[in-house]
């Protein structure tokens, strides 16, 4: 009988600590998206280098209360470059509303989709939280890993496939609910994206 009491006590303690751990992680996860506001609009200076071509302009990012994002880039003189929408639900495919002729290639669209999906993360869908060498990491949709700084902001991210990283994102977190800049580089393609916050 005493053994049963001991086992029950140990089990209760275990459940209690596990619940606390989950609660801590949930609060941390909630605060650690790239754009931490519930909804908002952000304008970035954008520079996309792709092969031997350069695209510059402004990237507008709109985050909706439903957790989905819309991103539209226009060049300096206002002409549309692309307009894409990403949904919070992983099962809903992204939508290309418009894209300029020079980017309208399946491979390029896939790269942009992967890049922007890494930015449009949704706190409800973190799969795992791990601490590696004192560094907290979030794992998202199987292939994405986000590293956090000491105060819980995302400072870098990478997309991994078949053991290799495909893209890396360096962020410059600020006290604001959006990063001051983002730089996306690729391992296998000569495409990079630099975003610098405007307003």
């Amino acid at each position: 009988m005493a053994n049963y009491r001991l086992i029950f006590l140990l089990f209760s303690l275990l459940v209690s600590s596990f619940t606390k751990l989950i609660a801590q992680d949930s609060s941390a996860v909630r605060a650690s998206e790239i754009f931490t506001e519930h909804k908002g609009k952000y304008m970035y200076r954008a520079h996309i280098s792709i092969e031997d071509q350069e695209l510059t302009g402004l990237l507008m990012i709109k985050k909706y209360a439903t957790g989905h994002y819309r991103l539209a880039m226009v060049n300096e003189l206002g002409l549309g470059i692309f307009d894409m929408e990403f949904f919070a639900d992983a099962d809903t495919p992204f939508v290309v509303h418009s894209i300029n002729e020079m980017l309208n290639k399946k491979q390029v669209i896939n790269i942009l989709r992967e890049d922007f999906e890494s930015i449009c993360v949704n706190f409800a869908q973190w799969e795992k939280v791990s601490d590696v060498k004192m560094e907290r990491r979030y794992h998202y949709r199987g292939k994405r890993i986000y590293q956090l700084n000491a105060i819980g902001q995302i400072q870098s991210a990478e997309l991994r496939k078949w053991g290799f990283w495909r893209h890396k994102i360096s962020l410059e977190p600020t006290k604001n609910p959006y990063p001051a800049s983002l730089f996306i580089s690729h391992r296998f393609t000569s495409l990079s994206i630099l975003l610098t916050f405007v307003q």
Binding site: K41, M43, R45, H47, D52, Q53, E54, L55, T56, L58, M60, K62, R70, A72, V74, N75, E76, L77, G78, L79, G80, I81, D83, H97, S98, N100, E101, M102, V198, Q199
Partner: protein
Amino acid sequence: MMSVLMMSAFALQTQSYTKIANIEEIKSKIVKKASETENIHSDFDQEKHMMMFNEVIKSKGVFYFSKPNKLRWEYYSPIRYIIVLDGKQVQIQDQSKVKTFDLNSNPIFKEVNKLMISSFNGDILNSKDFKVEYYQSSYDYMAKLRPLNSAMANMIETIEIYFNKTDFGVTGLKIVEVGNDYTLIKFQNRIINGKLSTHIFTL
């Protein structure tokens, strides 16, 4: 000859336009004015109307044009940057950094550059790439261009070029994209054939 025009183009959006049946006289005056124009220096307001954001992104700055193909767009807001195009290269100064690209490496700039230059030198009105219709309001003339080439028609629905009724100079441009987003550029305080330093077109 130097003329200073303080006429504003704020009325571009609110005027009602009627189609002009006999275009030859007006067209020849516009083309004559364009051929006499060696350079332009003007303030501009730019509005990008994006349906998805349900609001207008406004920018403003100073614009310079010099024949045959030099353009300088100097933005003061929302951020300070300068774009200089010379027909071969595009230079962009963002804060203190200057980046130079071959115009061929940026096909969108190449198209926009071609569009702007041909609007100011009047060539666009005789271009085979567009179907042109002419309209007028009590305030100005407007040439409405529809792209005939499919690559451009996939991006741009119409281009509207506004001309001052007194001096036939360009006072505004409206580029309507497929999907109804549009960019409206209004030129104000235009100085035509004033003295421009050649350094303006170098960063």
